[in-house]
């Protein structure tokens, strides 16, 4: 299997602005490889640098040490083979839903008519065919996330980076979106690096779950292969014995870190 995205010995240290003596190492010596077509989730306590890792993979952030490779090529600047779905609101508020989905195609220089057709097709695929001319503020949170999904996937990236994309959604919408994402992923089989704090979500969706330690200097402390058959339904799979076994195994590793992270937050607060 070819490796789609590879992080080798990645560390990220931030210096406090105005006080270079005060340093914070978010992630330290992280090794992570995602195969082409593999769905990998990263779980960890809050503030463990999961998003930092994703930004490094996207090329938005250069690591302090270590190297990043996309399909064997060392990363220079933005990772052009990756699509990124952000946790926060990332749609351009001055563009309609269709305009947002078309944005990447436009930037790439596709002919407008072709971009429009493709954009409309993807809006339909995420169930928003009738909402093409709505502005983001006229859409619900779940709809905006669907637009984000279409916006990322319309460019057909080989690597999809997702930063807690559904964390702001209510539980029903969330399950719906998770299933939709799985269906879309099954059809295309791209490499996915999925960040979440929700262990259930991680196990239900992934081929592999990576556990990070609490920060500062967080690193990979465990990897679990999720050997459950696909296609899966995220709600149903949570009832199976294998799911519970995995959940218990991962949670036993994660628990200690979550408590550690919680204690640290209490101390600094």
């Amino acid at each position: 299997m070819t490796v789609a995205l590879e992080l080798q010995g990645v560390s990220c240290t931030f210096a406090a602005r105005g006080d270079p003596g005060q340093r914070y190492t978010a992630v330290q010596d992280v090794n992570l490889a995602i195969g082409a077509g593999e769905f990998v989730s990263v779980v960890g306590p809050t503030g463990c640098g999961k998003s930092t890792l994703l930004n490094v993979g996207a090329g938005l952030l250069a690591p302090s040490t270590g190297s990043v490779r996309a399909f064997g090529q060392a990363l220079q600047g933005i990772n052009s083979r990756a699509g990124y779905m952000f946790q926060a609101e990332s749609l351009m508020p001055w563009r309609t839903a269709l305009g947002n989905v078309m944005a990447g195609l436009e930037f790439r220089g596709d002919p407008p008519a072709q971009a429009r057709a493709q954009g409309e097709e993807w809006l339909q695929r995420v169930g928003l065919g009738g909402f093409a001319d709505r502005y983001p503020h006229q859409l619900s949170g779940g709809m905006r996330k669907r637009v984000c999904l279409a916006q990322t996937l319309v460019l057909d990236p080989d690597i999809i980076l997702m930063d807690e994309p559904f964390s702001a959604l209510d539980i029903q919408t969330r399950q719906l979106m998770e299933n939709e994402l799985l269906a879309l992923w099954t059809a295309k089989r791209k490499a996915v690096l999925f960040i979440t704090h929700d262990l259930d979500e991680a196990i239900a969706m992934s081929d592999r779950v990576v556990v990070m330690s609490a920060g500062p200097g967080s690193h990979v402390i465990g990897e679990f292969v999720v050997d459950m058959a696909r296609p899966r339904d995220v709600a149903e799979i949570k009832m199976t014995p294998r799911f519970m076994e995995l959940h218990q195994a991962i949670w036993s590793v994660l628990r200690e870190e979550v408590l550690k992270g919680y204690r640290q937050q209490l101390q600094t607060a």
Binding site: L60, A82, A88, W94, E106, S140, L155
Partner: protein
């Protein structure tokens, strides 16, 4: 009857009109020679001399627009000065705001100068502009530009710096080049800030034009007011002020229309859409 006239959103204009008539009536009563003025002034014409008379003001306005029809050339001058000052000031403000917000070093170097120029009472530049650009339209436009420029500049500067970092990162991930970022992210974001300042800047462009004319010119509504003041013709001064106010309102309404059209992507207070 009261049910019909009670203040509500539909009869609002009626009440506003009543207030206007009431004010005009109050003005009329307080200045009409022989009515109330003799109780307050030694000379019964004194109130009319100082405050003007609404009827004569009205007659003056009608004469300007219908009778002699000689105000149009002055209005055209004042309005074109306003529009030019507004257009040039906005364009310059937008361009330099974008540039300085995206070039941190340049903005750091220029910061004290920008602060100084903004703190300076720029109306005082009017005499200098008269020397530089003469008594024609140029000096008025220049004054308006200095007033408008800083409003737009600071708003754009702020707007660009407050572009959501996530939206920016997202556009970069979608493959936007530096130029495309400028065109599709920074500019739209800054425009919303420009529009929030548009009402103020149109007003200031108008102020620049009129004040410039008032300080020295040969045409324009400000010039009319200056002439009338020279001959103690208070009614014409008042008429000029009324005309200017009316046109300021019209300009403001126009800006509101344009804003509504261009800023339709922005959520408005109280806007609820059924989906």
């Amino acid at each position: 009857m009261w049910q019909f006239l009670k203040p509500r959103s539909k009869t609002l204009w009626l009440w506003q009109l009543c207030l206007l008539i009431l004010l005009a009536l109050f003005w009329h009563v307080m200045t009409l020679p022989g009515l109330i003025p003799p109780l307050m002034f030694e000379n019964e014409r004194q109130a009319a001399f100082f405050f003007g008379e609404p009827l004569k003001v009205w007659v003056r306005i009608v004469a300007w627009f219908v009778g002699d029809a000689d105000i149009y050339q002055h209005l055209v001058v004042t309005l074109s000065e306003t529009l030019m000052a507004f257009a040039i000031g906005s364009a310059l403000g937008l361009a330099s705001g974008l540039w300085l917000a995206l070039a941190p070093m340049a903005s750091a170097i220029l910061e004290p100068y920008i602060k100084a120029m903004n703190a300076m009472p720029r109306i005082i530049l009017a005499p200098i502009f008269s020397v530089w650009f003469g008594l024609g339209m140029g000096s008025k436009v220049a004054l308006g530009v200095t007033l408008v420029f800083f409003i737009v500049f600071f708003n754009v500067y702020q707007g660009v710096r407050e572009v959501s970092p996530v939206v920016l990162a997202n556009a970069r991930m979608l493959g936007a080049t530096r130029r495309q970022l400028l065109r599709h992210v920074y500019l739209p974001s800054a425009t919303s800030w420009v529009f929030s300042s548009l009402h103020t800047s149109v007003g200031l462009a108008f102020v620049g034009a009129v004040v410039g004319e008032y300080l020295g010119s040969s045409q324009g509504v400000g010039y009319l007011i200056l002439q009338a003041e020279g001959s103690f013709d208070i009614n014409t001064v008042m008429a000029g002020i009324v005309v200017l106010t009316a046109f300021a309102l019209v300009l403001d309404g126009l800006v509101g229309r344009i804003e509504l059209h261009l800023m339709k992507w922005q959520p408005r207070v109280g806007e609820v859409e059924k989906i």
